[in-house]
Subunit: 201 residues, 2 copies
C-alpha cells in the first residue's frame, strides 16, 4: 500500500467517525437537551471512550456548531441547485418548499437542534447562524417576489408569506413521526398542495 492510498483511507475513516459522532450527538441533544448531555454520553452511545470524541472535536460546542454547519450546507445546496435551473417562479417555489419539508422530516433531530438550540451557540456563531438563516429566507422571498411580478402569486409581502411557509415546514420537527400513517413524501405533497392552493375546495 503506498503512502497516498493509506492517507486516503485514513481520511475516509476519520470522516466516517466524525459523521458518526455528529449523528449520535444530534440524537442525544434532540432527546435530552444540549445541556443535559456530556461528551462521555456521546462517546458511550457509540461504544467509544471520550478521548476518541476529543480527538475529533475540541468540546461540546464544536459538535453543536458542526451540526449547525451541516444543516446550513444541506439547505443551501438544495436551494442553490433549484435556483441554478432558471425555473418559472411557481415551479421553483414548489421545489424549494417540497425539499425543505422533506429535509425537516428526514433529519428531524438535526432540525430540532437547528431551530431550538441557537441560544447555546457562542455569540459570534449565533450571529453568523442568524445571518445565514436570513439569507436563506431572502433567497426564497426573491422567488416569491418574482411570482408576484409575473402575476402568478398573491400579492402578500414576501417576508410574511415565506415566514409562514417556513413555519409550516419547520414545525414538522415537533410532530412528524417516522412510524406514523404517512410517509415524508406524502406529507410534503399535502403541504405543497395546501400552501399553493389553500384548504378551501
Amino acid at each position: 500500500m503506498n503512502v497516498d492510498l493509506r492517507e486516503q483511507l485514513k481520511q475516509k475513516k476519520q470522516a466516517y467517525v466524525q459523521d458518526e459522532i455528529l449523528s449520535s450527538a444530534a440524537t442525544l441533544f434532540a432527546e435530552k437537551g444540549f445541556r443535559a448531555i456530556t461528551i462521555t454520553d456521546v462517546a458511550a452511545r457509540l461504544g467509544y471512550t471520550k478521548s476518541v470524541v476529543y480527538y475529533y472535536f475540541k468540546n461540546k460546542n464544536e459538535i453543536l456548531w458542526q451540526i449547525f454547519n451541516r444543516m446550513y450546507e444541506k439547505y443551501q445546496a438544495t436551494i442553490d441547485d433549484v435556483l441554478s435551473q432558471d425555473l418559472p417562479a411557481d415551479e421553483a417555489l414548489h421545489r424549494i418548499l417540497h425539499s425543505h419539508a422533506l429535509h425537516v422530516m428526514k433529519q428531524k433531530d438535526w432540525t430540532a437542534i437547528y431551530f431550538r438550540d441557537e441560544s447555546e451557540l457562542e455569540p459570534e456563531q449565533r450571529l453568523l447562524s442568524r445571518k445565514r438563516k436570513r439569507e436563506y429566507d431572502a433567497k426564497i422571498e426573491l422567488v416569491y417576489q418574482r411570482g408576484i411580478n409575473e402575476q402568478k402569486f398573491k400579492d402578500v409581502p414576501p417576508h410574511i408569506a415565506i415566514s409562514g411557509f417556513m413555519g409550516m415546514c419547520n414545525w414538522l420537527h415537533t410532530w412528524f413521526n417516522e412510524e406514523g400513517t404517512h410517509t415524508p413524501e406524502q406529507i410534503a405533497d399535502y403541504y405543497c398542495d395546501l400552501m399553493s392552493g389553500g384548504y378551501l375546495q
Copy 2:
C-alpha cells in the same frame, strides 16, 4: 372599611402582583432561557426582594407551570367560544386560526416558552401539557373534518392540515417584531388568506 371589602382589596392586589411576577418572568425566560434565570432576577426586574416572589410562588417551576396554565386557558377559552356558536366549518376555522395567530403575536414571550420550554416542566406537568395540546389540536381537527364532510375543505388528513396551520401560526413567535412594518391584525389576515386560498393567484 369592613372586613369583606378589605379582604377583597387584598385579593385584588395579590392577583395583580401575581400577574406582574408572571409577566416579568415570562419576558426574562423568553430572552435568556429558563435555566439562566433565578428568582432573584425575576424579583429584581420588578424592584422586589426575592421573598416577595416566594410569597406567591413556591419555586421557579411553579412560575413556569403557571405560565403554561395561563396560556392553555387562553387558547381554550377562545376555541370554546368559537365552537359554542355553531358556525359553518369555514367560518369557524377562519376564526380559530385568526385568533390563534393573534394570540401568538400578542403574547410572543409566553408562546415562546409554551412551545420551547416544555422539557423544563416536571414529568407529570409535561404529560398533562402534551395531553392538553393534543386535545386543543383535536378540536380544530374536528372542525376540519366537518369541512371535508360538507365538501368545503380539501380532503387532506385533518391532523396533517391542522399541524401545518398551527406550525405556520406558532412560528410567528420566532420572527414577529412589534416594531415591524405590519400590525398583528394585518399579518393574521394575510395568513388566513394564504391558508384558505393558497399563494397561487
